[in-house]
C-alpha cells in the first residue's frame, strides 16, 4: 500500500488531475440525465424515494398482499383534511364553516388532470368522503326510508347546519370519521390516484382554503402521502444544510489543530471527492435517494477526513524534525499505512455488514458507505501526500510544533491532559476496570429495559405541521392510523361447493342430471356456472326447458349461498364480537366492518328503532338488507368491506396511535381473540395497511440489525486477530467499542428512548468506526514497545503523539456529525446525537480502558517480547 503513496509523492500532479476528472465524470453523469431526462433516457437521473413501504422490498409477501388487497377492496392512499372550529359553540357545524367545507369538497372532487402519458391523475371522486358526496339513510315519513346526500347543498340556517352533525353522527360509518365525536370538527378523506401527486393536490387544496378568509376555522392537511412528500423536501434540506455544515465544522476544527489553511485543504478535497464519487455512483447505478441514503454525505465526510487527520497530525509532529516534505511523508506513511488500511477495512466491513439486513434502503446505505470509505482511503493515501508535495517547502516553514514536544513537560493543553490520562490509567488500572465493570452491569440492566418501537409520523419534530395535525385529529376523531384485517375461510370452499352442488342436483330431472355431468368441465367458479346456465336458457326451445334451467339456477344459487359465508348472520355476529373486543384494547378508536352496514340499514328499515340496530336472523334477511343498501348513491362502498362473493371480509381498524408497539398489541389481542373464540366456520386472518406494514419492517430491522452486528463483530475480530497476529490482541481491540455500544444502548433503555429505525442502525454504524481508535492505539503501542521495552515506559510515549492523533480524531469526527442535530427530521437528529456520543465515548474508552487492561494483563500481552 505504501507504493501507492510513494507513486503519489513522485507524480503528485497526475493524481490531482485524476481526482478532478473522476469528480467531473460523476457530476456530469448525474447532472445530465437529471436535467435532461428526455434526451438521456438510458441514464439514471436523481430520484427521491420517501415511501416508508420501500423499507421492504417490492416482492416482500406482506407488501404484495397489501397491494393486492388494496386493489381488491378499492382502497386508496388518502389525503385527510381536518377542519376544526374552536370558537363557535357548534364547532364547524355552522352555516359559514359548512359553506366553506362544501366549497372545498366540490372543488376537491374536480381535481384531476392527464399526465404526460395521457393517464388520468388526481382525486378519485367516487371514493371521496366529504359531506356532499356521502349518503345519509334515514326515515322520511311513515314507513318510508330515504337515501339522500348528507349535504347536497350548504345549509341555509344554523339549525340545518346542526342537523348535518346529528345525521352523520347517527351513521356508524361516518361518526367519528367524517364528523368528530365532540361535534366540533369534520374530516374530509380525499383518495388520490397515486402517492406522488399528493403534494400537487394538497397545494391546490391549500390555495382554495386560503381563499375562504374565515379565521375561525383551522384546516389541517395530513395523511401518509402528505407526510411522505414533505419528508422528501425535508430530506433535501437535510442534505443541503447538514453536509455543508459538517464540512465547515471539520474545516474549522482542523484549522484550529493544524493552524494552516493551505494544508488542511487536502482533507477537504479528499472528503469532497469521496462524497461526489459515492453519491454519483449511487445515482448512476439507479439507486434512489431514500431516508437512509440521504445521510451518506454526512457520514462519508467525517470518515473521509479521519485518515487524513492522522497523516496531518503525524506530519505536523514529524515535519519539524526533518524539515523535508518527502522524508517526513515517508516517515508518516511507513508508520500509518498499515493502521490506516485496517481502520478503513474495518469501517467498510462494519457498514458493509448492513448489506445483510433484509431492508433494501439500509442495504444500499451500508454498501455505498463501505464503498465511500474505501474511496476515501484511496484518496487519502494518494491525494494528501500529493497535495503536500505540491506545496512549496517555503509555505511549510514554521509549520508544526516549533520544537519537538517535550514529552516529559508537555506544553499544549491537549498534550497535558493526555499525559495525565496516561499516568492515571497506569497507576489506577484496576479502578478503571472496576468502573468499567460497573458500567457494563448498569448497561446490561438498561438494555433489558429497551422498548422496540417506531412511528414514521414521529420522524417529524413535534412542532411540525404534520405532527400538529396528527395530534389535533387523533384527539377528536377515532384515529387516523388505518390497519386492515381480512378474514377468510381457512379451507378452500370451491371443492366443498362442487360436492354439495352435485349432491343437490340428484333426482332433479333431466336437465339437472345433464348439468351435473357437465360440472367437472365447467369447474366450480360461480360465474362460469352461471354463464353456462344462461347459455342453456338462451338456447332453450320452449318455456318448459327455460324454466327447468331457471330452477337449476335457483338451486345453484341456494347451494352457493352457504358458501357466501359473510352473508351468514352467525358469521356477522362473530365479526361484531371481534369488533367490540378490538375496542376493549383501548388502542382502537373505531372499526368499520360489514356488520355496521347491515345493522344501520336494518335499523332504518324498522323505523329507525335502536332495537333494530342488529344483525337480522337469516341469511336472506341479511341479503335483502344489503340489496336495500345498494339502492343508495354509493352502492360500491360495500366492496370496501367484502367481495361480491361474500367469501371474505375486511375490517377497517382506526388506531389513534401509529406506534408500532400499539399496533403489535392490537395484533396480539386479535390473535388471542381467535385463540379463545373459535368462529362458526374456521377462519384465517391476515393484516394489511401501512400501520401494520411498519411493524413488519421493524421486526425485520431488529433481527436483521442484530445479525448484521454479530456478523460484523466477528469479521472485525478476525481482521484484528490477523492484523496483530494474536487472538489476545484481537479481543483487546474489540473491548472499547463493545463497552461503548453496551453503554449507549444501556442509556437508551434507561432513559426510555424507543429502539427505532435510526437507533437500530447505530450499532453497526459505530462498530466499524469505534474500532479505529483501538487499532491506532494498539498498533502504535506495539511499535513503541519495541523501542521502549517495558509497558511503563511505552505508555508514556503512546500518550504523546499517538494519543494526540486519536484525541484530535475523536473531536473532529465526534463534532463532525453534530450538524445532523440541526436537521428538520427526528431520525437524523437521533443518528447525529448518538453517533457523536458513541464516537466520543469510544475515544475515551480507548484511552482509558485499553491502557488499563494492558497494564493488568501486561504479561499475557507482551509475553513474546519479554521472552
Amino acid at each position: 500500500m505504501l507504493i501507492l503513496s510513494e507513486t503519489a509523492v513522485n507524480k503528485p500532479k497526475a493524481f490531482m488531475r485524476f481526482a478532478v476528472i473522476l469528480s467531473l465524470f460523476f457530476i456530469i453523469g448525474v447532472a445530465v440525465p437529471s436535467l435532461f431526462p428526455k434526451q438521456f433516457p438510458f441514464l439514471h437521473s436523481l430520484s427521491v424515494d420517501t415511501d416508508p413501504e420501500n423499507m421492504l422490498s417490492h416482492d416482500e409477501p406482506v407488501r404484495v398482499f397489501h397491494n393486492e388487497r388494496k386493489q381488491e377492496y378499492s382502497l386508496y392512499d388518502m389525503i385527510v383534511v381536518g377542519v376544526v372550529n374552536k370558537t363557535n359553540p357548534n364547532g364547524v357545524f355552522n352555516t359559514q364553516s359548512l359553506n366553506d367545507i362544501y366549497t372545498l369538497g366540490e372543488y376537491a372532487r374536480e381535481i384531476s388532470w392527464n399526465n404526460d402519458n395521457g393517464e388520468n391523475q388526481g382525486v378519485i371522486e367516487a371514493e371521496m368522503i366529504a359531506p356532499s358526496n356521502v349518503d345519509n339513510i334515514e326515515q322520511a315519513g311513515l314507513g318510508t326510508v330515504r337515501f339522500e346526500w348528507l349535504m347536497k347543498t350548504p345549509p341555509k340556517t344554523e339549525a340545518e347546519a346542526k342537523a348535518i352533525y346529528d345525521k352523520a353522527s347517527h351513521i356508524p360509518f361516518l361518526d367519528n370519521t367524517l364528523v368528530s365525536g365532540d361535534g366540533k370538527a369534520m374530516a374530509l378523506y380525499i383518495p388520490i390516484t397515486s402517492k406522488d401527486i399528493s403534494y400537487k393536490v394538497a397545494q391546490q387544496l391549500k390555495d382554495k382554503i386560503a381563499s375562504f378568509g374565515d379565521p375561525q376555522d383551522e384546516y389541517h392537511i395530513t395523511g401518509l402521502p402528505i407526510a411522505q412528500d414533505t419528508f422528501g423536501v425535508e430530506m433535501f434540506i437535510q442534505m443541503a444544510v447538514s453536509a455543508p455544515m459538517a464540512m465547515l465544522l471539520i474545516f474549522l476544527l482542523m484549522w484550529y489543530f493544524f493552524k494552516s489553511v493551505k494544508l488542511i485543504i487536502s482533507p477537504m478535497i479528499v472528503a469532497m471527492v469521496s462524497v461526489i464519487v459515492t453519491m454519483g455512483a449511487l445515482v448512476m447505478t439507479g439507486n434512489t435517494v431514500h431516508i437512509m441514503s440521504s445521510m451518506i454525505p454526512v457520514f462519508i465526510m467525517p470518515i473521509a477526513v479521519l485518515d487524513a487527520v492522522h497523516i496531518l497530525s503525524d506530519f505536523f509532529d514529524v515535519y519539524p524534525r526533518y524539515k523535508d516534505r518527502k522524508k517526513a511523508l515517508t516517515h508518516v506513511m511507513e508508520e500509518l499505512s498499515k493502521p490506516m488500511l485496517f481502520t478503513s477495512l474495518t469501517t467498510a466491513a462494519g457498514f458493509g455488514s448492513l448489506a445483510f439486513t433484509p431492508i433494501p434502503p439500509v442495504q444500499v446505505f451500508g454498501i455505498f458507505i463501505a464503498f465511500g470509505v474505501l474511496m476515501a482511503w484511496l484518496f487519502t493515501v494518494t491525494l494528501v501526500p500529493a497535495y503536500i508535495m505540491l506545496m512549496s517547502e517555503k509555505s511549510l516553514e514554521g509549520f508544526g510544533m516549533a520544537h519537538q514536544e517535550d514529552e516529559e513537560h508537555p506544553s499544549s493543553m491537549l498534550a497535558k491532559i493526555l499525559h495525565a490520562t496516561g499516568r492515571f490509567t497506569y497507576a489506577r488500572a484496576k479502578l478503571v476496570l472496576l468502573v468499567m465493570m460497573v458500567l457494563i452491569g448498569i448497561s446490561g440492566y438498561g438494555i433489558s429495559k429497551i422498548q422496540i418501537n417506531d412511528n414514521p409520523v414521529k420522524w417529524f419534530t413535534e412542532k411540525h405541521d404534520i405532527r400538529v395535525a396528527d395530534k389535533e385529529l387523533n384527539e377528536r376523531f377515532a384515529g387516523t392510523y388505518m390497519a386492515y384485517l381480512e378474514l377468510s375461510p381457512a379451507q378452500n370452499l370451491h371443492e366443498a361447493f362442487g360436492k354439495k352442488l352435485s349432491q343437490s342436483l340428484e333426482g332433479k330431472g333431466k336437465e339437472a342430471e345433464n348439468f351435473a355431468k357437465a360440472i367437472p368441465t365447467i369447474g366450480t367458479d360461480i360465474t362460469a356456472i352461471k354463464d353456462y346456465i344462461y347459455a342453456q336458457q338462451d338456447a332453450a326451445e320452449n318455456d318448459d326447458t327455460y324454466y327447468a334451467w331457471d330452477d337449476i339456477a335457483t338451486l345453484v344459487d341456494n347451494t352457493y349461498g352457504e358458501f357466501e359465508v359473510f352473508k351468514q348472520p352467525e358469521m356477522l355476529r362473530y365479526v361484531e364480537k371481534l369488533q367490540s373486543d378490538l375496542l376493549r384494547t383501548g388502542l382502537v378508536g373505531k372499526s368499520n366492518a360489514l356488520p355496521d352496514v347491515v345493522k344501520t340499514v336494518h335499523r332504518e328499515l324498522f323505523l329507525g328503532n335502536e332495537k333494530a340496530f342488529r344483525i337480522p336472523d337469516t341469511q336472506n334477511a341479511v341479503a335483502q338488507t344489503l340489496i336495500t343498501y345498494q339502492n343508495s348513491h354509493r352502492p360500491n362502498d360495500l366492496w370496501h368491506f367484502t367481495t361480491p362473493n361474500y367469501d371474505k371480509t375486511v375490517l377497517w381498524i382506526q388506531l389513534k396511535s401509529g406506534d408500532n408497539k400499539d399496533m403489535n398489541k392490537v395484533v396480539s389481542a386479535v390473535q388471542t381473540f381467535f385463540d379463545n373464540t373459535p368462529p362458526p366456520i374456521a377462519l384465517e386472518h391476515n393484516w394489511f395497511g401501512l400501520t401494520y406494514i411498519n411493524t413488519v419492517w421493524q421486526d425485520k430491522m431488529v433481527s436483521g440489525m442484530l445479525e448484521a452486528f454479530m456478523g460484523s463483530f466477528i469479521i472485525v475480530l478476525v481482521m484484528m486477530t490477523f492484523l496483530f497476529r494474536s487472538l489476545a490482541w484481537g479481543i483487546l481491540s474489540m473491548v472499547p467499542l463493545t463497552v461503548t455500544i453496551a453503554f449507549i444502548y444501556g442509556i437508551i433503555g434507561l432513559i426510555g428512548k424507543d429502539y427505532d429505525m435510526p437507533v437500530a442502525v447505530l450499532s453497526s454504524l459505530s462498530l466499524g468506526l469505534a474500532v479505529d481508535y483501538a487499532i491506532h492505539f494498539l498498533a502504535r503501542s506495539r511499535e513503541a514497545s519495541k523501542k521502549y521495552g517495558t509497558w511503563s515506559e511505552t505508555i508514556k510515549a503512546v500518550f504523546g503523539e499517538p494519543a494526540r492523533a486519536i484525541a484530535r480524531n475523536v473531536i473532529v469526527i465526534g463534532v463532525g456529525f453534530t450538524p445532523l442535530l440541526f436537521a428538520p427530521l427526528v431520525p437524523y437528529k437521533t443518528v447525529g446525537f448518538f453517533i457523536s456520543a458513541i464516537l466520543l465515548f469510544a475515544g475515551i474508552a480507548t484511552l482509558l480502558i485499553l491502557p488499563a487492561l494492558m497494564t493488568v494483563f501486561e504479561k499475557i500481552l507482551f509475553k513474546r517480547k519479554d521472552a
Binding site: E72, E125, D557, N558, A623, H633
Partner: protein
Amino acid sequence: MKKALLTFAALVALSAPAMAMDVSEIVNKANHTAYYQGEDGRSRVKMEITDKQGRKRTRDFVILRKDVGNKDKEQKFYVYFNRPADVNKTVFMVWKHVGQDDDRWMYLPALDLVKRIAASDERTSFVGSDYFYEDVSGRNPIEDNHELIETTDNYYIVKSTPKDSSLVEFSYYKNYIHKTSFIPVKTEFYDKRDQLYRVSTAEAVETIQGHPTVVKASIKDLKSGSQTVMTHSGSEYDIGLPDDIFTERYLRQPPMEYIKR
C-alpha cells in the same frame, strides 16, 4: 314598410318555437319508443354487473309494466326478483308520475317488510347496478331543455340540459336517436368539467309484435370502470295486465301467472 318588418320579426319569433317543436317531437318519440310501446309489457331480465376488476354479479328479475292512459305519462312498474336466490321474491314497485315525485315500494320477504322508498332523488343505484332508478323507469323529457345539435344519416343527436341542475349529477347528456325507429341508441352523460363519464347503449334491437324493442342494453360508468348489461328475453306487449296487481297487496302475493308464463 315598417309594418312589413314587424311582420317579419313576428314570423321569426314564431318560427323559433316551431323549430323547438321539432326537437321535442324527436325526444317525445324516442321517449315513447323506449318506455311506452303497447299498453303494457313484460320481460325477463338478466342483469350482469361487471366491475373494474372483472368481478361479476347477476340479478335475474321480471319486469311488468302498464301504462295509465295513452298520453305517455303515468306508468306502473312491478319488478320481481328471482335471483340471487337469497333475494328471491323481493319486489320493487314504481308508480311513475309526471310533475310530481314517483311512488316507490319495496317488499323484502325475509323481513316480511313492505317499505316505501322516498323518491326525491331518482339518481340512486338500482340494486347495486350502474343503472339508476331513472334509467329503468325513464327520465321525463320535461325535466330537460333539448337541443338538436346534429343530424347524421342515421341519427338525430340531441343535447339535453337539465332545467334544475341541482337534482342531477350530470351537466348535460347527448342522445343518439335512430331516425326511423326512434330508438335512443346511445346516451352520453357529461359532467361539470365537460367530460364524458357515463354511457348508455342499446346493444341489440328486435321487432316484437311490430314494436322495435331493445333486447340488450348496457350502461358503463367510466369513473368507476363498472359496467352493467341487461339482457331481455320473452318480451311481450299487450298481455292484458290487470290494474290491481300494481298495488301493495300484490307485493306479498306476486301475480305468478304473469311473472312466470
